[in-house]
Amino acid sequence: MSRTVTSILIVDDEADHCANMNDIFTDLGYRTDVAHDGQSALELVARHGYDVAVLDLRMPGMDGLELCRRIRRLRSETRTILLTAFPCRETELADSGDSSEPFERPSILRKPVNLTELLALID
């Protein structure tokens, strides 16, 4: 993970959250894209590729975990960070992942997001 992060994909069905993340990352000099659902996120990943994808766990249609797996199948180099507003334990989330896949597990952060933590994970 020595590569410098330059591009970030933000996926969340909540428009205000995406706009905020977009403003913060752009201000810090990252190249960013925003998607509001899993399908359009995958299209963006296939076309551009990103160093990091910050995904909401619970979205209508494809949820964050499933999207995580698909992104990694498309671009295994993309690091994924899951955000959740749900009061669940990290272990439950980690267990629900498919352990047969040779990818690292996503990092999980709670909403409201602690930006210091999130930025530390990205860089």
Partner: protein, 406 residues
């Protein structure tokens, strides 16, 4: 274990009722008291037999966890129970102690059927005891045994009653706690999302190196908007928590529906078509509560059409009701979900606690109204609200009068 006195008082009343049911009389009291000298010498033996049976059954043995001290206590309690049974005093305290047996059995998780068979075993032992020692008239003996059986059956009934009530109370408590857990999780999710936006906006406003005045204004707007989102979550909960008895006044539905539609601000991707007859009779109801009903239904309809669509709102008078129909061209509801949609905490949305339709249904029930739903997945749904007409009697009257005209 303690229970409010009223519980014991109610139980005593029920006990008295049951006594009347079996024609329990002073003669029965006298008969049972007469048995005491015959059966008392066998109490020790009966208690031994009782606990031998408890100990030899795997399921009942399970509750004997307190060693010899517990055994000592249990034996004394049973001895006391036997003495009270033949004491001739069947007062409040007597009943309260029987209640405790039932409560205690729920507490230790002893199935009620074992109480029945254990009582059966005691009953057989006691009847055998009196038959073996009785040297008098056979007819008298039969009368004693009949009175004794009534008494044991009354005891069994009151223990079973206490068991059942305590069991229900405990399961309801458990269920309530589970519901609170579910609600809490839902609220947590619904509040963390707006809080998240507020927090990240504040971060941006504090830390951004190149924040334009426009950006700053946009973030302040967002904070404002998300405070409203959070407030709406609380409002939905308070709607549910304190649904007051609806005020019954004539409500003009067309105006109410137009107002609700205006509040919802459907975007340009929606085609909203209203069709209300010019002289739609008013319904009987509570303006505020009916606004919640139609607000929920219209919001649901719009949310069911994420890419936009057509919403038809129409109303018509039918019999003593006004029917309001809301038809959307949205994603629809699958047949398996359709039967659950008015259950509290049932939601198929990524956002939402699952209270909207539950509140809607509760309000309509209080209005003597109905909700009918039909839906076809991928085609859309139709929600029909039926509300009682306010001018029902007046109108009937005028119709009747019109009918009498030549």
């Amino acid at each position: 274990m303690t229970a409010p006195d009223s519980t014991s008082d109610d139980a005593f009343d029920r006990y008295r009722q049951l006594q009347r049911y079996v024609d329990w009389s002073e003669q029965d009291v006298a008969n049972v008291k007469r048995m005491l000298p015959y059966v008392e010498p066998r109490f020790g033996q009966l208690v031994d037999d009782f606990y031998d049976a408890v100990g030899s059954n795997a399921e009942t043995r399970r509750v004997l966890t307190g060693g010899s001290q517990q055994m000592q206590r249990l034996r004394l309690a049973l001895c006391r129970w036997l003495q009270e049974l033949f004491s001739g005093v069947y007062d409040r305290d007597y009943v309260r102690r029987r209640l405790r047996v039932g409560w205690r059995h729920v507490e230790i998780g002893l199935d009620q059927m074992y109480t029945k068979v254990a009582l059966s075993r005691l009953r057989v032992g006691l009847v055998r005891a009196i038959c073996e020692c009785w040297d008098g008239d056979k007819g008298e003996l039969l009368a004693l045994v009949v009175s004794f059986n009534k008494l044991v059956d009354l005891d069994a009934a009151i223990i079973e009653d206490a068991y059942g009530r305590e069991f229900t109370r405990r399961s309801q408590t458990t269920e309530r706690l589970a519901t609170i857990g579910q609600v809490a999780a839902g609220i947590a999710h619904e509040l963390r999302n707006p809080l998240n936006v507020i927090k990240t906006s504040i971060y941006y406003l504090e830390n951004a190196k190149a924040a334009s005045p426009e950006k700053k204004a946009a973030h302040l707007d967002r904070i404002q908007r998300q405070v409203t989102v959070a407030d709406n979550v609380i409002a939905a909960l308070s709607d549910f928590a304190a649904l007051p008895t609806p005020r019954s006044e004539p409500v003009a539905l067309a105006a109410l529906l137009n107002g609700v539609l205006l509040d919802q601000e459907p975007g340009p991707q929606f085609e909203v078509v209203c069709d209300f007859p010019e002289h739609l009779p008013p319904v009987l109801g509570d303006v505020r509560q009916l606004s919640i009903v139609f607000g929920n239904l219209i919001r649901n309809a719009l949310e069911a059409m994420p890419g936009g669509g057509r919403l038809e709102v129409s109303a018509q008078a039918k019999d003593d009701f006004v029917a309001v129909s809301l038809r959307d061209t949205g994603i629809g509801i699958s047949p398996e979900n359709l039967s659950h949609i008015t259950e509290p905490l049932y939601s198929t949305k990524a956002r939402g606690i699952g209270l909207g339709l539950a509140i809607t249904n509760a309000i309509l029930n209080k209005h003597q109204g109905f909700l009918r739903v039909t839906s076809e997945p991928d085609r859309g749904s139709q929600f029909v609200v039926l509300l009682p007409m306010a001018v029902e009697t007046a109108e009937k009257h005028s119709i009747a009068q019109a009918g009498t005209k030549p």
